[in-house]
């Protein structure tokens, strides 16, 4: 009874008040659409699920945003097994990847090289049929690194990976679930170095679980990334890849051709401006800020882009 007589006029008034806002919003979105539709098409950037990838995703996202692109972030999607198909199918337009690992993923028979230039040529050949283009790679290399604690290294006198061959059967390896099937992980350790571990424990992709399992002694050898600042901070020993299992895993943005044609050279130029400045040391520095100092990848990326003079 109470709201009956005056409820209807109130509703009418609410609608009347709302109309200008709705119209304004429609006009604004229409204008926005026209503005970005021409030369700066909206872009969706994806990433896999470890912190360096979030930093890289932010670097590309923010430099594009600073140049007037609309960016949708789809980070933390999962392993490459999820992200690469997403790129091909158009659910994302771009992601940052690693030359040799991506090559091994898209072409099981291809062999990468320790020379990034050579790897890039082979990779681009393999990617052309998949409608994907690799842009400029950075000097920054992020390879799989196998680490042990200082205590384990001292006890078993471990310096390089080949030292693991005779003692591997007493040790437990920890890493991402896909490690046993990967050429650059347990599979390669077995075929190239002849290391067979006692057991494998599925943890995360070079993340906190692996670090904790190493510290807690649930695993003896862990897969971390060579650009991971945690290795130095925790005093882990990174075993030298003396038989060069790891290839030139330089960081490179990969973009779907559909999008690249739409966006044109302006987009390419912006993205490629990052590559020359991104060295392993710079990347490790950013990784440390995120993983050890617990800073937001967004802020870390922004500060770095500013420092490098890439954005204002």
């Amino acid at each position: 009874m109470r709201c009956g007589p005056e409820g209807v006029p109130q509703l009418k008034r609410a609608i009347r008040v709302a109309i200008p806002f709705i119209v304004a919003a429609l006009v604004a979105s229409a204008c926005g659409g026209a503005g970005t539709g021409g030369t700066k098409p909206a872009v969706t950037i994806g990433s896999t699920n470890f912190s360096e990838q979030l930093v890289l995703g932010e670097l590309y996202s923010q430099i594009l945003e600073a140049n007037g692109y609309t960016v949708t972030r789809k980070f933390n999607l999962g392993a490459r097994e999820i992200v690469f198909p997403a790129l091909q199918s158009g659910q994302i337009d771009m992601e940052a990847d690693y030359l040799a690992t991506l090559l091994a993923f898209v072409d099981k028979t291809a062999t990468g090289s320790t020379d990034p230039k050579q790897t890039l040529v082979t990779l681009q050949k393999a990617l052309t049929s998949k409608g994907v283009t690799v842009l400029d790679y950075a000097p920054a290399v992020d390879q799989n690194g196998f680490v042990v604690t200082k205590a384990t290294a001292d006890r078993l006198k471990l310096v390089k990976l080949s030292d693991l061959a005779p003692v591997g059967n007493q040790l437990v390896l920890g890493g991402p679930a896909e490690c046993p099937n990967r050429e650059f992980c347990a599979l390669g350790l077995k075929t190239k170095y002849g290391i067979t571990f006692k057991d494998f424990k599925a943890l995360d992709t070079g993340g906190p679980l692996t670090v904790q399992a190493l510290v807690g002694g649930q695993i003896d050898v862990g897969l971390l990334f060579t650009s991971d600042a945690t290795i130095a901070v925790r005093g882990f020993v990174l075993l030298d890849d003396d038989k060069q299992l790891q290839l030139s895993d330089n960081i490179a943005p990969v973009v779907r051709n559909d999008y690249l044609t739409k966006a044109g050279d302006d987009f390419k130029k912006i993205i490629n401006s990052i590559a020359p400045k991104l060295t392993t040391a710079e990347l490790t520095g950013m990784n440390k800020l995120v993983e050890v100092d617990k800073q937001d990848p967004k802020d870390v990326a922004k500060a770095w882009l500013k420092k490098q003079g890439l954005i204002k």
Binding site: A177, E178, D199, F200, K201, Q212, G216
Partner: protein, 233 residues
């Protein structure tokens, strides 16, 4: 249909019955952590629930507090359990079994507590009054009158808890625990859907087995007189 064939092939592959990733090992790990979590949950929730049901006080508060266990997403509980297990039990225990266990116990408590409270509270007051009149003490009333009468509901609560816990223990795979969740998490990471599906199937079968086992136990444990009464109701 090819997925189904792949799953059958997966189960037939002898390689899946060896080593630390063997099906029987994973089932055992799964049963172990679930069983212990339910046991501890029951040890905590059952006495509290029965006592509150008997006195009839603070039941509303207790049931609602326990229900927080249901409201916290299990995924968050398991992630939170890593630092908690690490602090309480030392770094070495911060992964694997203990965080999984710690996250599952709060999940086991609400159905047990709620059912025990409601069941004991629901015992006809004429019966308890009569018992009191005949000189039975409070503990005696609980033991001889209330618990036997409340047993079907109490057991149903434990059964619900057990099925929930078995299904949720799969999340342990995210914190480096084994169990059947390993197949699901690793299957997703590797895009090996046969492995993923096999894991899900095993979890479902285990949950059904628990359900059936409890059902059988309930029928055996509940006094025939009450069974008749239930039937009449």
């Amino acid at each position: 249909m090819t997925l189904l064939a792949d799953v059958v092939r997966w189960f037939a592959d002898p390689a899946h019955y060896h080593g630390s990733d063997a099906v029987q090992t994973r089932i055992l790990e799964h049963v172990e952590v679930s069983g212990l979590a339910v046991l501890v949950g029951v040890l905590i929730a059952l006495p509290v629930g029965m006592y509150l049901g008997h006195t009839g006080r603070f039941g509303f508060v207790a049931v609602n507090v326990a229900n927080i266990g249901r409201a916290i997403p299990s995924l968050a509980a398991i992630a939170l359990a890593i630092p908690i297990a690490g602090t309480l039990l030392g770094v070495a225990n911060g992964l694997g079994f203990w965080p999984t266990f710690l996250a599952l116990v709060p999940l086991a408590i609400p159905p047990v507590l709620t059912n025990a409270y409601v069941a004991v509270r629901g015992v006809d007051s004429d019966v308890t009054e009569a018992a009191r009149g005949m000189g039975l003490g409070e503990a005696g009333i609980l033991r001889v009158i209330e618990v036997p009468l409340a047993l079907p509901l109490i057991l149903a609560g434990i059964r619900t808890a057990a099925v929930n816990v078995v299904a949720t223990a799969t999340l342990g795979a995210l914190v480096a625990f084994g169990g059947l969740g390993r197949y699901i998490v690793d299957g997703l990471a590797l895009q090996e859907y046969d492995r993923l599906f096999a894991g899900a199937l095993l979890v479902a079968l285990l949950a059904i087995a628990v359900e059936v086992a409890f059902g059988t136990f309930e029928r055996a444990a509940v006094s025939p007189g009450i069974r008749v009464q239930q039937g009449a109701l």
